[in-house]
């Protein structure tokens, strides 16, 4: 699998990076939302909420970059994937609305706090599940004719997409629970540590199930994973996953604070690499490659100049914002 490094490939990696940043950063926010009902009303929930209040908005911005960036760099892919996954995309957006406003509304209205807590959880769950559906829908392929989506409005629904939907939900739960292990204290931390154990196991099972099912979707996927000599490289992904999983459970049980979250990130990175191996160079299997979908060179260059200058600045001040709110939240929070 020779990678010819041209502008289009660079853009594929930039978009992939934005999507990955979104998945792990908003992933832990959404994961906390998914697990929220299992935390006790009062101090536990307030701590959990406060641990993400200053950063969720920035995390969600990566989703806008993923969408806007896709439109800019691969307009054809944007124009095919979104109509193909219309219902889950709309449901995800509505879920994100409930999740987003709940951050402010629950503090403004103590009488209806249970209601907004529920909106927070349900919104997070729906958004996560729908993102999984979209992932599955892309992997299982989209019907394209004449450079446009040619299927029905329910083509995305299948057993496989339900599996990927569930996979993303438990994966986000893993990120959320390990983030809480790091950021909260007392009974909330103990509870988060227990949850992380279950979520870790569920995530590994989901990763295994999706990995087992994917090569059977297309012969191409099978070849990319199992043909010699590529298999020598691709086999490293499951191998590394096993090592990371082992370390994760070991350090989680030993009471490590930051390590479980960082190892969960590593798990996601490996899963993401696995998806990349399956898909590349297709952006909409099995009809549209990144080169088919690419914007003209003039658009790519114009954006690349800006991205190369601004992206490091974004990463720097985002890191600074996280640094400002480092350490345990504390029971009074900074909200």
């Amino acid at each position: 699998m020779a990678i010819n490094v041209d502008l289009t490939t660079v853009w594929a990696f930039i978009i992939a990076f934005a999507v990955f940043m979104y998945v792990v950063m908003d992933g832990f926010d959404l994961g906390i939302g998914i697990l929220f009902p299992t935390f006790k009303v009062g101090e536990e929930r307030d701590q959990a909420m406060n641990s993400i209040a200053p950063v969720w908005d920035g995390n969600e911005t990566w989703l806008v970059l993923g969408g806007g960036g896709l439109l800019a760099a691969f307009p054809l892919a944007y124009s095919v994937i979104l109509p193909a996954t219309y219902p889950p995309i709309i449901a995800m957006l509505l879920g994100l609305i409930f999740r987003g406003v709940a951050f402010e509304f629950r503090w403004r209205d103590p009488r209806h706090r249970p209601l907004w807590d529920m909106a927070f959880s349900l919104g997070s769950f729906v958004a996560a599940f729908c993102q999984g559906l979209v992932l599955g829908a892309i992997l299982q392929g989209v019907r394209v004719e004449n450079q446009a989506y040619a299927g029905g409005w329910l083509d995305w629904l299948s057993l496989f997409t339900l599996l990927t939907g569930a996979g993303v939900v438990v994966g986000y739960a893993l990120l959320g629970s390990t983030w809480l292990v790091w950021k909260v204290e007392g009974s909330a931390e103990a509870h988060a540590r227990r949850l992380a154990l279950y979520a870790g196991a569920a995530t590994l099972i989901a990763m295994a199930a999706v990995s087992a099912a994917t090569p059977f979707l297309y012969l191409e996927y099978w070849k990319r994973w199992f043909d010699m000599p590529g298999v020598l490289a691709t086999a490293q992904v499951p191998l590394l996953t096993l090592i990371v999983a082992f370390l994760f459970f070991r350090l989680l049980r030993r009471g490590a604070m930051a390590a479980p979250f960082l190892l969960a990130l590593a798990l996601f990175a490996l899963g993401f690499a696995g998806l990349g191996i399956s898909l590349f160079p297709y952006i909409v299997p099995d009809g549209i490659t990144i080169w088919d979908a690419a914007a003209p060179e003039r658009s790519q260059v114009f954006m690349l100049v800006g991205t190369a200058i601004i992206m490091p600045m974004i990463l720097a001040y985002t890191a600074w914002a996280y640094w400002v709110f480092r350490g345990k939240v504390g029971t009074h929070g900074y909200h």
């Binding site: 200053p54 908005d57 920035g58 969600e60 911005t61 989703l63 806008v64 970059l65 969408g67 806007g68 960036g69 896709l70 439109l71 800019a72 307009p75 054809l76 944007y78 124009s79 979104l82 109509p83 219309y86 219902p87 995309i89 709309i90 957006l93 509505l94 609305i97 409930f98 987003g100 406003v101 951050f103 402010e104 509304f105 503090w107 403004r108 209205d109 446009a148 989506y149 409005w153 914007a295 003209p296 003039r298 658009s299 114009f302 800006g306 991205t307 601004i310 992206m311 974004i314 001040y317 985002t318 914002a321 400002v324 709110f325 480092r326 350490g327 939240v329 009074h332 929070g333 900074y334």
Partner: protein, 468 residues
């Protein structure tokens, strides 16, 4: 049950509905972010805690408005693909990069510094916190810059070539695309509208509390600041709006014909129709109240200048007249009402009755929401006036949509309507609730929870501030 409906019409209603709702929040947060930066700057300069109280009072309101703007904005960035995929494929190479620049230069800036601005006062020093507030304000402005650049290009497209597939490709110069002919006018008109809208809201809240207690120092300060803004900016806005109209006449004459209600051409001086009822079947304005030749005077600065009417435009290229005719009049009438309020406040100042003239305060309360109405009316005027095109003169709306299924779009439209009214209705209620409460001395940080001092590096500047 929805299969008989026209999916393109449903998609248009959905886009119009979600964008109108969305536009309300940024038009408030652009102005409010700048107001917050001014308040914090004044506090740092003068040391008066009055300004800090006002900063904290409005920051809580800002947090809610901003959250609603963010979540309703994400919807917009995906709707281009879900419902307007042909437009996205064709125009993506031109407008996509502009929207990507908006995310890179504006959204991250706002979001990255918002957390510090809202929750970080005791975690970072004063200077850094003020920097964060300024960055949020700057982010809102940059965001307006890019998105209005996209919008202006759709209205007055320049700097592109069309390839064999009908795709718009960027030409030699990006500045030609970014600074399309209507962009400077639209940007100034819209940003001023945001400032004016915010000043009317702040003025209404100040007036509301003056009506209850005219000695309230916080209410006096915010009312005075807001009325200065309204008095200065409202006349400027009318002049800018006029210039924007002349620019539209040059590039999109059909839109101006619809705004003016000119179905017929007027070879020797067109009348200014003040009121009337557009009759689209008969192509005339019923019950018209008009000033002879005044429209030619305004648009051409010549009483007898000929003005072509919609009879010169093919029927299938006409924008819908009634909507534009009405929305334009609503916007202009409110603009003049704002000017009236600004002048009234100047009279109040001159007669030293600014803080105890109850009728002025009542008028200011009534005018509180007028900015939002005017902004949405203006938005409808320009967007409906772009019809029947998405890219003006080049790509028709009914050739821009996705391969849509009516049941899917109908269901999503109903879902958006229900969710928006419920969620944003609740948010508006919470904002009104916060506004109803007067600002107090030693106003708390957002949410009345004590803040844990920073871990290993407590910020001395704000530590001292707590004792004030």
């Amino acid at each position: 049950m929805f299969n008989s409906l026209d999916p393109v019409m449903l998609a248009r209603i959905q886009f119009g509905f979600t964008v109108s709702f969305h536009f309300i929040f940024p038009s408030f947060s652009i102005g409010l972010a700048s107001y917050l930066a001014v308040l914090e700057g004044l506090w740092l300069k003068t040391g008066r805690t009055l300004y800090l109280d006002l900063f904290r009072y409005w920051a809580k309101i800002f947090a809610i408005a901003f959250a609603m703007g963010v979540v309703s904005g994400i919807v917009m960035s995906y709707q281009f693909g879900t419902n307007w995929s042909v437009f996205s494929t064709k125009a993506g190479p031109v407008i996509g990069p502009l929207m990507a620049y908006e995310v890179l230069t504006a959204f991250f800036l706002e979001a990255g510094f918002l957390g510090v601005m809202l929750f970080g006062m005791k975690k970072v020093g004063r200077g850094l916190h003020f920097t964060a507030t300024c960055m949020v304000a700057l982010g809102t402005f940059i965001s307006a810059f890019w998105i209005l650049s996209v919008n202006s290009w759709m209205q007055t497209p320049t700097g592109f070539v069309v390839d064999g597939d009908g795709r718009f490709l960027p030409g030699d110069s990006w500045p030609t695309i970014i600074f399309s002919p209507s962009f400077p006018y639209r940007l100034v008109h819209t940003v001023i509208a945001a400032y004016l809208t915010t000043s009317l809201v702040v003025g209404a809240v100040g007036a509301w509390h003056l009506l209850r207690d005219r000695t309230n120092p916080h209410a006096r300060k915010m009312f005075s600041m807001a009325m200065w803004m309204a008095a200065i900016v409202a006349p400027v806005q009318i002049v800018v709006g006029d210039a924007h109209g002349l620019n539209t006449l040059e590039h999109q004459p059909a839109k101006v014909m619809a705004m003016e209600g000119h179905y017929d051409s007027h070879p020797d001086g067109a009348p200014l129709i003040l009121f009337g009822v557009p009759n689209s079947a008969e192509k005339r304005i019923d019950h018209a109240l008009e000033i002879p030749k005044a429209s030619s005077l305004i648009l051409k600065h010549d009483l007898d200048a000929p003005l072509p009417g919609l009879d010169t435009i093919p029927d299938d290229r006409e924008p819908p007249v009634s909507v534009i005719f009405w929305s334009f009049r609503v916007m202009v009438a409110l603009g003049f009402a704002m000017l009236g309020l600004g002048l009234w406040s100047l009279v109040g100042r001159w007669r030293r009755r600014l803080y105890d003239w109850s009728w002025l305060h009542r008028a200011a309360v009534v005018m509180g929401p007028s900015g939002f109405v005017a902004v949405v009316a203006g938005w409808i005027t320009t967007e409906v006036g772009r019809q029947p095109y998405t890219v003006y003169g080049h790509l028709l709306t009914n050739q821009s949509h996705s391969p849509l299924a009516a049941p899917a779009v109908a269901a999503s439209l109903i879902a958006f309507v229900l969710v928006y009214f419920a969620v944003f209705g609740a948010g508006t209620w919470y904002i009104l609730h916060l506004m109803h409460r007067p600002a107090e001395a030693h106003e708390d940080e957002p949410d009345a929870t004590p803040v844990r001092t920073a871990g290993i590096t407590p910020a001395p500047a704000f530590g001292a501030q707590v004792g004030e």
